[in-house]
Symmetry: C5
């Protein structure tokens, strides 16, 4: 589906609502360019656009199917970029991923989006209000999209920081919590984020280095800024992963400590019953000469003895921390 | 065994069914080339072909025996490539490995296949229908074979992802499952895949860099695409390996938690018996003056007392989660 | 808030107390420069200064909001540096972080500080008394600030060494201590320090390499010295992190050993009661012919037997280390 | 001890049995060279040879004492190589190490061997029958020795693979095996192998790169082949090490699972005795009115009751998998 | 304190006992040089020497205070080296560290030593008897000192190997040993050694590369030899560290196995008492018709039955390995 299409001239969007083929034909000025936005395109749409703009077969294949790896590829003057989008779904405490493929030529930008999140509409609007970026032409669009996606990476890592904090609290709480499943799931989410962030560093570094024709020299600081944000996301993610591993070890230690505590509690409890049982056994013996048996208060005395023994043990165990 | 042999001219297969030596003699045109396919060749077959095409002694030795490492070697104009093939056997949930050795010269391709899987027949057919690739001559064949093998790597990693998901479900299920053997086996399979994937990255990168004569400049994007798929396989495999390690730790935690639960259940169960035993012991004492003993309903009273004690403990333990 | 502003001429501070705009206008001499210090500036202050000195939009954005990554960026002749400050709060055994952003031009230095710690006042005073550094102009100021911040890193790592020593003592003490929470928190602090130290290495290395215009050739040994201190901090932090992991494992081992000791103590204690219970059971049997039952001292004999059995077991267990 | 010495001319060994000094004097032709083989030489022998061939002091020191690190050193035209030899002693399931030092000059080869294994005699014989290698002169000898040693590395790693398989079987067998000592020993052997294999990669890579004068350009593919075998050995060793770590974790999990099983078995067994004891306790109570006590078949009834309780519990525990 | 000072001329020490300032003045010949040795110098001594030889302020600061990182710094023609010294204190099984700072100029060497160990006197004597090294002038002194220090690293690692062997024996012995503290301490020592060894590799590599003016081209093999020894120390240390980690895991496994053995022994022991208790309970029942009670030998029969039950269980448990 073609979700938006416009002709940009002199750093701002024209009102022209024509079909994208016509817009393409009109983009004859030096700084004119067309931006076509596709979302989950059919093979036919993909094919039409590819033919019209002379996109490379391999890039079109990659753009057509989701689950690609972030990468930057140059085909002559054209740049092809795949970037993964991330967003955090609060309801499920989960990270979802989508994908954007971009073809950036001298006078056109084609963006192909897969998955639900990260619609590019707001990025486009923001861009259309920032002449400074738009002046850079298709390279400016490239920057705007990457910048927005990477900013969302930082939002996601912020959410993950909160999740790790929650797990931390749970691990070290006095409650018996079984946190291993949560830690596992979070580690999995983090691996997902890492798969989006890490392979993107090399493409962004190349864009920042200035040897990609589509990015003018004066625009490289912007890409260095993105590279820096990316490095921040990568560092956060690595550091969270390491923290979770430590949290897991701490969780294991807590389980062991609790088991130890339980074992001692159980033993102390058992002693409270076993000792009176011994006393009962003693007065159940059949010796002919057992003076206590003939006492009038022998029975209450025995019960008291049992209670005293149990009570004494109770105090003892309480003091030594076993109960 | 020679499984297939053909002469290719002007980007398509000729019908000529002659012996490979004759085909070789006919491949005189600029773009002509012969493709001979061997499968588990005898030393004699290997020797004949090596002599006819002037293959290097070391490469022939490597091609003749299986269990080589993926590698790319140049001998003058000729390129020698060893690549490991992988396929997933559903029946056994296991990854099997084979091997293909390729000699690619100016006017010939010799492929030597070891092991069962990944026959090259379908790759050859597919190639014969794609003039675009075949036009690149022996370099195109090189691409077609590598591309097919690497695509199968991705199929295998997809299956491994499913296996890891199953293990995950099993680890976190309430059932008592002993997953360590399965995790171990899967880690072993993953190590196998890694041994095929990782050493291949350097050869493919060299093919993509354009300084291998057999690969024309305009064909390098195809090899970069393969390199990208390879990177994807490597990332998946690394990430699965890390996930399995975490799953293992989680499995250990589950075992500990279950042991703890069992211990508490056992203790609670023991209390249900030990307390009535104490009561029985008390009424088994031989004191002369024990009023209960003379009651008409002393015996049912004692039984009731025992049942009440056991019942009370039951409720108590249920509430505190010990039973 | 503008916390300090001065004009430096011929390697020393002038008395001129004018507004910073006037000072800027007066800095016309070859070695004259203005140093403006901001602390948690409002967007307006930031904007004014940025406009006056022609600071780059991206750098101003980064300087305006805290939680940036340490980095060095060149915009033409100007250098922009972000550096994290660390200090140790004794009361909480915690590491706090702040941030300093610096803009260093040919004739000006703008420092923007976020957070509480590491006020730059003392650094400035120290610098004003050291003509040797001040002679290097804005580059000297750059050095002075980095040097001071990195020296504080070393102070922080010294404190962390003490914390690790304390944990070590606690882990290997005979007391039952639950050190996992403390180890976790310290690992977290260390990760914080690492996030400040590690990304700073690359900027400092670039300053030491001599290809940053603001740093004259003869000043590079000073930056190499800072790089060396930074390396020391990084090595200490890595080594503490590894030690803490080992301490954690040792803590787990201690827990296991203690559980084992407890289990044996409990079992030995149980034997002391169960064996007399058996004896009591035997003399509670109802056989007609049990000679002991008719003895005059049968009862004391039975009690003695119980005591002897318990005493014998006690000695036995003490000797074998179970009690 | 000088174990062998010969003059090689025109690619084959001469019959000349003279003293090595004379052979050296006769090696005047362009392709003539002398090969002296020493085994655990005395300092005097070492000194004589060193002086005669002008070997560098440092290299002679290294060759004279064992336990060096694999390395390649150039002294002018001469090449000095230290290589570790490995062999597997079946009787002890252990890897033994030895050492070979080689001095390779324009017209001589001096090999110094330490330790028992890997005598060079068979390597020399094999070489003397392979004119192709011998034609390359001293460089060919260098290749022949390294090739043989590295082939033995692969034999050793094959044996280690078998050992790891055995451990695997043992870990996952139902038997109670204490595999930690075996895993530890094997990890130690693997570390030994790694210390031989890994540092050799750089010297072999340099020999394969063609910038060592003693190795003619056309011989570099042979060294690349050795480098490839070395890489294979290194990969195998790394992968075995990782597998052993996983096997260790699995072993720990097995221990935990077995402990859990034991605990449940013990508890179930205890229940089989404790419940009848309660019943016996009940019929041991002294109530005046207990109808069962007066039944003719009260006693057999009670015994049956006990047996039924125990039997019922048995079935219950069997079904739930506790026994 | 100035511990030694001498003028070296033509490759040997002169007898001149003058004050170092005079010796410095006399060192006018081409190959003349002065070597001043300081030990824990006062700031004044340091200052005097620094001024006389024109040493750089930063280097003097670093030389004056201990606990620096190993490093090599060039100030014009002068080379400044910091190196950590290590020695093993047998009495405490501990590694101690000291420090040597060296200033090496065209015609002087200043060595500053901190800490107890590694006095340089014997190194100086050895050097004075080896014209070959001394001929290289100050560069030869540099080599002699580094060589000696690195040789002592190897002595220390040899001692650590012995310590690890002892721990190994202890871990796998049948005794109940708590080795975690010893392993921890040894890991800490190893970390200390690593902090001395690893950062020194880069300075030594630079000295071996031949682009440090103070080291003549023909002296580089000597530094390559040192680099090789350093690599050996680093490899040993890494390998010991990995072995200790494995030993720790094995130690944990031993603890678990012992706990399991204990648990089974305890349970078997409990059974030996609980079963006779049940029998006693049975004969303590009050049924009117219990034929055994009236037997003349009923009581001995019951005792025998108990003994037989306990004995039978004993045999059973012995056979199954529980006792």
């Amino acid at each position: 589906m073609i979700v938006d299409c416009a002709l940009y001239r002199d750093g701002s969007r024209t009102d022209d609502d024509s079909h994208w083929r016509e817009l393409k034909a009109k983009a004859t000025g030096d700084d004119d360019f067309v931006w076509i936005g596709l979302h989950d395109p059919t093979p036919e749409e993909m094919h039409d656009v590819a033919e019209a703009f002379g996109l490379h077969r391999l890039a079109v294949e990659d753009a057509g199917e989701p689950h690609q790896r972030p990468k930057l590829e140059r085909f002559g003057e054209m740049v092809f970029l795949v970037i993964k989008t991330l967003w955090y779904v609060d309801a499920e405490d989960a990270v979802e991923t989508g994908e954007i493929a971009m073809f950036v030529g001298k006078d056109f930008v084609v963006t192909v989006r897969h998955g639900q999140g990260n619609e590019l509409h707001t990025a486009r609007s923001a861009l259309e209000h920032s002449r400074q970026v738009l002046d850079h032409g298709p390279g400016g669009v490239l920057y705007a999209v990457i910048d927005r996606v990477v900013d969302e990476y930082l939002d996601v890592t912020d959410e993950l920081v909160i999740d790790v904090d929650e797990i931390e609290t749970s691990v070290f709480s006095a409650d018996r919590t079984n946190d291993s499943a949560r830690i596992y799931v979070l580690k999995r989410e983090i691996a997902e984020v890492r798969r989006a962030v890490l392979p993107l560093r090399e493409p962004v570094a190349r864009l920042a280095s200035g040897d990609i024709a589509a990015v003018p020299e004066e625009a490289t600081p912007f890409f260095r800024d993105v590279a820096d944000h990316l490095a921040r996301a990568a560092e956060t993610v690595d550091s969270l992963d390491a923290l979770l591993s430590t949290a897991f070890d701490a969780h294991l230690a807590q389980i062991s400590v609790q088991q130890n505590d339980d074992m001692r509690k159980i033993s102390a409890g058992a002693a409270l019953i076993v000792v009176p049982t011994l006393i009962a056994g003693i007065y159940g013996m059949n010796f002919r000469h057992m003076p206590e048996l003939d006492w009038s208060f022998g029975y209450p005395f025995a019960l008291l003895l049992m209670a005293a023994a149990a009570g004494g043990l109770w105090v003892l165990f309480k003091r030594s921390g076993w109960l």
